[in-house]
């Protein structure tokens, strides 16, 4: 488990909330920083003193200050910390819920968990720490689609061809022949079946006829 943690946030109230969660989880040392530059110095100092942090929890956005700063955001801090401390677990704890941001932070910046601030923020934070201790990645449910490879919004020309063929009354085996003739793949009956099932799922259709009707209603062809 974690013994020493650094929380970087410019909202004291939030800090206090997180603090109580961490106390419950049995942390010995909880340090705080209001600016990313301070946080970076603290991390360096601790490592230098042979008492490194076990965990970094940081917000993403910080109020603008009138003093000169090098690291303006949590993202900057991650970018600065990560190369020097590749094994330090990092949790981003932020109001930001843009999926793209989440995806970038997790996938390319090497952040271990992304927790959204909110009513359930504290609960998520605890879950995040548990996941990290097991070597997993955690993201709050609000933004979990950022990492979901299965979410496919687009329907493509292939899908449309299937529905069009169905709409003119062709059976699935006739569609298979049609696809072969037009060099479209996959053209096997089983893959057509599979794709149609997925579409039925996506469009919440009871059967193929229903699916065609929904396509028509939505003006997709």
């Amino acid at each position: 488990m974690f013994n020493k943690v650094l929380i970087v946030d410019d909202h004291d109230a939030v800090n206090a909330g997180v603090l109580s969660v961490l106390k419950n989880l049995g942390f010995q040392t909880v340090d705080t920083a209001q600016y990313c530059d301070d946080a970076f110095l603290k991390i360096k100092r601790a490592a230098f003193d042979q008492v490194p942090y076990d965990l970094l929890i940081s917000d993403l956005s910080f109020k603008k200050e009138f003093r000169n700063r090098n690291l303006l955001s949590g993202e900057d801090l991650v970018k600065a910390v990560r190369p020097d401390y590749p094994k330090l677990p990092i949790i981003i704890y932020s109001m930001e819920d843009r999926l793209q941001k989440v995806r970038t932070l997790i996938k390319t910046q090497g952040v271990n968990a992304y927790v959204c601030k909110g009513r359930k923020g504290s609960v998520d934070l605890a879950m995040a720490m548990e996941a990290i201790s097991k070597g997993d990645i955690f993201v709050s449910p609000q933004v979990e689609q950022a990492l979901n490879p299965d979410v496919e919004l687009e329907i493509d020309d292939y899908d449309l061809t299937l529905i069009k063929q169905l709409s003119i009354g062709h059976s699935q085996s006739e569609i298979s022949i049609y696809l072969q003739e037009n060099n479209m793949s996959p053209s096997s009956l089983s893959s057509i079946e599979k794709r149609l099932n997925r579409l039925k799922d996506q469009f919440q259709a009871n059967n193929v006829t229903h699916l065609v009707a929904i396509f028509k209603d939505l003006g997709l062809f």
């Binding site: 819920d97 793209q100 009513r119 689609q145 687009e154 469009f203 209603d217 939505l218 003006g219 997709l220």
Partner: protein, 551 residues
């Protein structure tokens, strides 16, 4: 004045070719008739000068009025007066000016006749100036235009006289025989006699056997017609013929006869010419030597005068050119001043229009900002302040229910964030396809399936930022509406692009709505107006919602 007859002939020809106005036409134009008489039959030394002044003013008036036909007539009259005054260069200049007018006109029989006359007159002038090659050149130009036999005769006769001066008698003979043949066909006895006389004279120079016969024939014709001037010319030619033959006795006898006729003619110039001729037939006399000396002096004087006249004319001409140049320069200066003023005015007007447009644009933008501010403010009031007030009253009455209050607060919190998100900046520098996907994915839940078509096929880099921002905001607005009001389970969004044009079709399977109720849709419409796009909505309760956005 050996060739008085020749000069007379030229004038005769000039008058035929000038196309002088008929007296009938001029009866009521007293002054015109008066000056025409002054010019053509001068009585006092000042008549020509007065006529010149009159015609010069008339001519300037006509050219100013762009009445070219009249201007040409006056110019030719001026040329004749100048020629009579001995101003060969001035006369030449007037004729050239008349020619220039004619060149600019459409070619008609009128212009042909006038040009022919002018070429003939110019030839005569150059002959008088002893510039024989130039004279021939102009006569040849005239010959090209000559159509009738009479016209041909006049020009050819004049050319023959030039060849005589150049002592090219063979050429002269050829031309004069043609003139003679033409005259026979024309049947004009005066012309015939003249042609025969001139031909005989040239034949004499060439020692042709028919020479004397032709001259005598001409003399007889003239005597029969009692043509005094013609008879005089015949006698003179005969005396010169015999001089060439060294038969001074006969030469003297014809010279004497010419002298007698000249006395009858009562013209001092004829008298002078006759005496001059008479003296020529008496070589070895003191009078003859005096005449020879005087002739050579006069020729030299004439050449000098010609040269001086040319210089004087050139000087005047240069001065005139200089003054026209100056006037033109002033005109151009005025023109350029006008032009520059115009340019300045146009620039000022353009600047004014631009600044007006700019300030209108500025006002529109301020208006837009104002509308956005009021929209946000209204939202804060409706969606946040009211609910916070509710929570406050809840807390006053029911303090114990902590979870209920927390739920209410979280709801307010998330709505505040929604408002913030609706107006937050859009990451345009990131992959716009991803940005859009993230936006739509946020509304893609267990209950709602958001489906896109062609989103990945659009080249988003081809679109300007403001279009992307508008598109993002509109989709956001549509999705918020969908989430709030529609209860839809499926949302399909189709993207299409054609060049710079982007079309988005939105449709869902929700409960639909009465269109006018939704303020969010008004925002969409407003946004479309600002970027010259269009938004068409289609919905009825229970039949889903459709939108077509074009930008």
């Amino acid at each position: 004045m050996k060739n008085l007859a020749v000069i007379l002939f030229i004038f005769c020809a000039v008058n035929t070719l000038t196309g002088q106005p008929s007296k009938q036409n001029l009866k009521y134009k007293d002054s015109l008739q008066y000056y025409y008489d002054l010019a053509n039959h001068p009585q006092s030394p000042f008549d020509l000068a007065n006529a010149y002044k009159f015609y010069n003013e008339k001519q300037k008036l006509s050219s100013a009025k762009k009445d070219t036909l009249t201007a040409i007539k006056y110019l030719r009259q001026i040329a004749i007066i100048q020629l009579k005054l001995g101003d060969y260069y001035g006369s030449e200049s007037s004729e050239v000016e008349a020619l220039r007018y004619l060149e600019a006109m459409k070619q008609t029989d009128f212009t042909r006749k006038n040009k022919l006359g002018l070429y003939n007159e110019l030839g005569g002038i150059y002959k008088e100036r002893m510039d024989y090659d130039l004279a021939l050149k102009y006569f040849n130009k005239g010959l090209e235009l000559a159509q009738t036999k009479a016209e041909n005769n006049i020009i050819k006769n004049n050319m023959a006289l030039v060849y005589n001066k150049q002592l090219q008698f063979e050429k002269s003979e050829t031309l004069l025989s043609e003139v003679y043949k033409n005259s026979i066909i024309l049947g004009d006895s005066v012309q015939l006699a003249r042609a025969l006389d001139n031909l005989g004279f040239v034949e004499g120079k060439l020692n042709r056997p028919d020479a004397l016969d032709h001259m005598k024939q001409a003399l007889n014709m003239r005597l029969t017609r009692n043509d005094q001037l013609g008879t005089y010319a015949s006698y003179k030619h005969l005396s010169q013929y015999f001089m060439d033959q060294n038969d001074y006795e006969k030469a003297q006898s014809y010279a004497q006869k010419a002298y007698n006729i000249s006395k009858q003619i009562q013209s001092t110039s004829y008298l002078e010419d006759a005496l001059d001729n008479l003296i020529s037939t008496r070589p070895n006399t003191i009078e003859y030597q005096y005449k020879k000396l005087k002739d050579s002096i006069e020729t030299a004087k004439k050449l000098a005068e010609n040269k001086y006249a040319l210089m004087k004319f050139d000087y005047l001409n240069q001065r005139q050119i200089a003054s026209t140049f100056k006037i033109q320069k002033e005109k151009e200066h005025l023109k350029s001043l006008l032009f520059r003023t115009l340019v300045v005015i146009i620039m000022v007007v353009v600047a004014l229009i631009l600044s007006m447009l700019y300030s209108k644009n500025q006002r529109d933008r301020l208006q837009e900002i104002y509308l956005t501010e009021t929209r946000i403010s209204k939202k804060l009031h409706d969606e946040v302040a009211n609910d916070v007030y509710q929570v406050m009253t809840q807390l006053e009455s029911d303090i114990a229910n902590k979870d209920k209050v927390l739920d209410a607060l979280e709801d307010i919190y998330s709505r505040t964030r929604d408002i913030s998100k609706e107006n937050s900046s859009i990451a345009l520098n990131e992959n716009f396809e991803e940005v859009l996907k993230d936006l739509l994915m946020r509304y893609h839940t267990n209950k709602v399936n958001v489906i896109t078509r062609n989103l990945s096929k659009i080249d988003w880099n081809a679109f300007e930022s403001f279009k992307k921002i508008t598109l993002y905001r509109i989709l956001q607005e549509l999705m918020v509406n969908m989430k709030k009001h529609s209860n839809a389970t499926i949302v399909a969004i189709t993207f299409r692009s054609k060049g710079k044009k982007l079309t988005i079709n939105y449709s869902d399977n929700g409960v639909g709505c009465q269109l006018k109720k939704l303020s969010g849709l008004r925002n969409v419409e407003n946004r479309m107006v600002t970027i010259n796009g269009s938004a068409i909505f289609d919905s009825k309760p229970g039949q889903g919602f459709k939108a077509k956005i074009s930008m």
